[in-house]
Assembly symmetry: C2
Homo-oligomer: 198 residues x 2
Amino acid sequence: MTQPIDFYFEFSSPYGYFASTQVEALARDIGRTVNWHPILLGPMFKIMGSAPLTEIPLKGDYARHDFVRTARLFGIPYSHPEKFPIATLAAARAFIHTRQQDAAKAPELALALYRAFFAQGRDISDAQVVLDVAQDCGLDRGQTAAGIADEAVKAQLKEENAQAMARGVFGSPFIIIDGEPFWGFDRFPHIRAWAEQA
Amino acid sequence: MTQPIDFYFEFSSPYGYFASTQVEALARDIGRTVNWHPILLGPMFKIMGSAPLTEIPLKGDYARHDFVRTARLFGIPYSHPEKFPIATLAAARAFIHTRQQDAAKAPELALALYRAFFAQGRDISDAQVVLDVAQDCGLDRGQTAAGIADEAVKAQLKEENAQAMARGVFGSPFIIIDGEPFWGFDRFPHIRAWAEQA
């Protein structure tokens, strides 16, 4: 019996966004389903002594260029956010709360949040914007607001982020399939090749 | 009239090695030739506040795994060197000296040096090993030894590395084609797509 793919993504990550638009198709092609896991890169950067791509000298200018070009090459709508990177606690907590209520709905919310931030110029670091997006997805605004503020949801996100790091996750997107780790949207072709050879 | 591809590579970089085995085919497919440029990542890491991949917490373990897997997926001979990363001054200077004598011969030397380090377990940080490899390529051992020690060759490498950084080169492999920068072996498919759209 095949195991689901574990798909780790940070809501402020352009390559995570690109991956989110294709991960279900990838999984289908190799006979898998997807478990979606929002992560927070902040604590991971701290351990690595790293920083958001766009803040690194030399690499930053390249990264901004590569975001736009990659989106164009893959036909993914993209407009680099004015405020970037952003805090994604509200988005990640809304995801976790939604998953607890309706597991099938959570990926739909993730895709809508990513689209809002990277294609529609909406600042999803603002909890009110997260609630707007949730509402557009047919979720209850009041319940989602309560979920974002829920101590148990906060603790769950923290715990899941620690678990991800314990599994070796350090970037976005990150996919683990049968224990095999793949970092980066550019590893999608590698995943296909690996699955064929396995 | 099309311009050649500028191909930047560090002799201690596994992804640079992978790229070196495919860059001529890539260029041919898109109607270009290749200018090979050895670079030294050390000064670039200093500016970025970065370090060799394998020395970064979390990322290091993944990188070692990805080197081997990527080589296998692409059918490239690979055995991760016991001593890694290494200083590549001698290799880069031998390349530059060879290019001055016989431009067509230099890429052949680069491929042989890469193969020696990443497939044959030979330590090319040792100038004597570099000379062994040069000799196997049909180059004159004494002349190459003199080239490695030549102050003008040393200055030329330093100057070319500075020029690369001024063009935004910060990693290996790095390709610039008509001013368009691509970082990483995993950008080869992007280069093909970009060239088709251009």
